[in-house]
Symmetry: C2
Subunit: 164 residues, 2 copies
């Protein structure tokens, strides 16, 4: 809290005029970010695009967030375990439904003949790991061009799954 206070130019105690506790601040940051992902997923999932285009739009969203909210993404990726009480449960539920929807889109790609039949759980895991760690590679390598990045990802993550 003293570090945060210094960063915004006040004493640690003064922060408590604006927040109720450190946990509240942390929870707010994390759940806001989680809801951003949830909202993005819903918009994409409810659209009428083909499942492949949906995947491309999801990848695009992850790249955008990694570049735009690098710090928050670092938080949500690494520190969510420190959420307490019902915030922890709520986060896990948001994450779970996000992943389920993501996997369903992959399943649709297979059903509709775009992808060859693969283990969707592993495909999901592979894609999500890459997207979730993107922020850390991006902060090591700020000269990566986001647009280029997005294009390469769509190629690299999806083309391998496509039917020949």
């Amino acid at each position: 809290m003293r570090d945060i206070a210094q960063e915004v130019g006040m004493e640690a105690a003064s922060l408590y005029n604006h927040i109720k506790s450190k946990q509240e601040l942390f929870r707010e940051l994390l759940l806001n970010m989680a809801h951003l992902f949830t909202k993005g997923m819903e918009e994409i999932n409810d659209s009428s695009y083909t499942p492949i285009i949906k995947l491309e739009k999801l990848i695009s969203m992850h790249v955008k967030f990694a570049v735009e909210y690098t710090d928050s993404i670092s938080l949500i990726t690494n520190e969510w375990v420190h959420l307490e009480g019902q915030a922890y449960d709520q986060f896990l539920e948001l994450r779970d439904t996000y992943e389920k929807k993501f996997e369903n889109i992959i399943k649709n790609c297979i059903e509709q003949g775009y992808f060859s039949p693969v283990n969707t759980e592993i495909a999901l895991f592979s894609i999500l790991s890459t997207l979730r760690w993107l922020y850390s590679w991006y902060s090591r390598n700020k000269n990566m061009n986001p647009v280029e990045l997005e294009k390469e990802f769509i190629h690299c993550l999806l083309d391998g799954l496509k039917k020949k």
Copy 2:
């Protein structure tokens, strides 16, 4: 330290008969794990296998470590930033040369016509992210069969890169 002491059945102060400091213990755990990876990489890289087989062996190593040393892998993946002084520098150097060698093997795959020409930096990043996060999916899903896992990974991570 009190938690660790309880886990091994003694008082926190007694730990200091065995270690010099918390940092030393932490450093020991982390750098040992880092050297395991380095050693594995060297053995594979110095072998006379084709670059594709080398990649398969690397994947196999990551899967094995994720299953065998789940906790240490969690440490090395998430907590390395808390290394101090020269241990920090040493870790970064080990990681850097590991990644460079990994990328070189991918480049060899392209040069020797196994892979279609891709951005090797992004391919490396994608593969490594997946392998590094494997431990966390494995601890969520202990019923994953390591042998099956390895096979699926080799398929999922490499086949997408191969020439048709």
